[in-house]
């Protein structure tokens, strides 16, 4: 049952920090922020540095390449609005820059995935018509 009153899961894309992330993502660029004072690479993007509490951060581009730490295929139990996308692949990905994130893997089947497999950034459409990041096998 998918009742109209159910709020769908959508990300905030309006705060300046998030708006910039999504603007760059629309150009197929994965970006985050880096502390100008201590050099820490922050993920997800923040407008302050938790290490040195500086508010001077700059946007920095990441390679968008990483490897699979673990993965699963969701067959049942997806949140509202995503049921029709089942089955879909989710993976924890370690980026080349050393941060971990969770995202969908598209353009591959469950049996083709393995821990340690290289993946690269791509974009997919969310149920609200906006874009979100996703990953695909490197070079595919």
């Amino acid at each position: 049952m998918n009742l109209p009153h159910i709020m769908l899961i959508t990300p905030n894309r309006k705060s300046p920090l998030m708006a910039r992330f999504y603007e760059n993502l629309s150009k197929n660029q994965l970006t985050t922020t880096r502390c100008k004072k201590c050099g820490s690479l922050l993920w997800p993007p923040r407008d302050f540095c938790p290490k040195c509490m500086s508010r001077e951060v700059e946007v920095t581009r990441l390679s968008g390449i990483g490897e699979i730490v673990s993965f699963t295929e969701i067959i049942d139990g997806a949140p509202a609005g995503m049921e029709s996308e089942q089955p879909y692949l989710l993976a924890i990905i370690m980026l080349e820059e050393g941060m971990k994130l969770l995202a969908r893997v598209v353009g591959a089947k469950y049996d083709e995935l393995s821990i340690g497999m290289k993946v690269e950034l791509t974009i997919r459409k969310l149920h609200d018509g906006g874009i979100v990041m996703a990953f695909k096998p490197l070079g595919r």
Binding site: D76, A80, G81, E85, L90
Partner: protein, 389 residues
């Protein structure tokens, strides 16, 4: 500082409870806990702490602590409040009650856990559980609770050779225990073949790896240990309750197969209680998914790292084994009404330590442990309990 003690426990019947509203479920557990204690009435309680994870979304009701007080006819002089810590709400509520008593703020505290999960449409419930994670960075990709633990299972299988059968044996054991628990949602045994044939949910996890969507309530009356014998002949003392939190998303735990915040919470709980893991006779641990119970055997120190699968295979976690784990049937088979779980664990440990657990009684149970987990293994509460001597 003094100690707190459990003088009354109560549990509603767990399951799909179309016959009871949220407040009625809570009252069912509260009523039983006052039957269990002696010479104490709801009006004597100085503070009420309610654990409930997401009643706003599940039954469209907020401010549930005052709501439940009103239904019970209680006006606690030191106030009522709700604790939300996702699946570890109950454990955190107990920890707050213990702190209130040890600090001298209150001497009698009522701790109630309740969740009604079967009223809302299924897709609403799935969204509700997904947003326990980080909505902006993880829920948007469609992470679900089983998916988060499937990611851990995948690594445990690769690193330690844990097999599908090991996961299945956790479910088989917990269902066998639930058969002996009149309050459990699933009072039936399952076979390993039934487990293997159950449909996939988030690979490699199947339906019978998962705890169910469930309604239920639990209650513990906690008092100053010095007065506890006035209210019960066999009070159970809270030796220690610890909690650790490291973040929220599924990528926060550095190592998917060794939950460091759990190792830390457990080691502090053992040290405060002055015991070692080997002394634990009975434990209720957070088996929201079977793989969690296997990792918890290891991180709680019941067996070595990577041996969790063999531990269950050898029957070491069964009643009569090295440490009886989830004698109630656990979250898997007793049921997992989110806010009620952490308190329901203490209900079971109290019955075991008093020797009142009926057919599932562990003989000579002196020391009990509870482990309640919240989110993607980011929040852990460990409690250690013993009979008052």
């Amino acid at each position: 500082m003094g100690k707190s003690a459990v003088v009354g426990v109560g549990l509603s019947k767990f399951g799909k409870r179309e016959d009871a509203s949220l407040r009625e479920l809570a009252a069912e557990a509260v009523y039983e806990s006052f039957q269990d204690a002696r010479d104490i009435e709801p009006g004597d309680v100085e503070a009420v702490i309610v654990a409930s994870s997401q009643p706003e979304r599940l039954v469209v009701q907020s401010h549930v602590a005052p709501l439940i007080c009103e239904y019970l006819g209680v006006k606690p002089s030191k106030g009522a409040f709700r604790v939300e810590s996702a699946c570890s709400s109950g454990g955190v509520a107990l920890r707050m009650a213990d702190i209130m008593i040890r600090s001298g703020e209150a001497s009698k505290v009522l701790v109630v856990g309740v969740e009604k999960m079967t009223e809302a449409p299924r897709s609403e419930v799935m969204t509700t559980l997904s947003i326990v994670g980080d909505k902006d960075w993880e829920s948007i990709h469609g992470i679900t609770a089983p998916a988060g633990f499937a990611l851990a299972a995948q690594r445990h299988m690769l690193e330690y050779g844990t097999k599908e059968e090991h996961l299945g044996l956790v479910a088989v054991k917990n269902h066998a225990n639930a058969e002996l628990n009149p309050k459990a949602m699933f009072r039936r045994r399952i076979t390993l073949n039934e487990y293997k044939d159950s449909p996939p949910i988030a690979k490699p996890l199947k339906l019978l790896d998962c705890s169910p969507i469930c309604d239920g309530a639990s209650c513990v009356i906690l008092t100053d240990a010095e007065d506890a014998r006035k209210y019960n002949d066999t009070p159970v003392v809270v030796k220690s309750i610890t909690q650790t939190t490291i973040g929220n998303s599924s990528t926060t735990v550095d190592d998917l197969t060794t939950w460091k915040p759990l190792v830390e919470a457990a080691s502090r709980a053992y040290s405060l209680a002055g015991i070692s893991p080997k002394q634990v006779d009975v434990a209720e641990v957070h088996d929201c998914f079977t793989i969690a119970e296997i990792i918890e055997y290891e991180d709680l120190g019941f067996c070595g790292k990577g041996y969790g699968g063999r531990f269950v295979e050898e029957g070491q976690s069964a009643i009569g084994g090295e440490v009886a784990v989830n004698t109630s049937g656990g979250l898997k088979a007793k049921g997992h009404p989110i806010g009620a779980t952490g308190i329901a664990q203490v209900v079971e440990i109290t019955l075991q330590l008093r020797g009142e657990a009926g057919k599932r009684q562990v003989s000579g149970a002196d020391i009990g442990l509870t482990h309640n987990l919240g989110g993607f293994a980011v929040n852990h509460v460990v409690g250690i309990y013993g009979r008052m001597t």
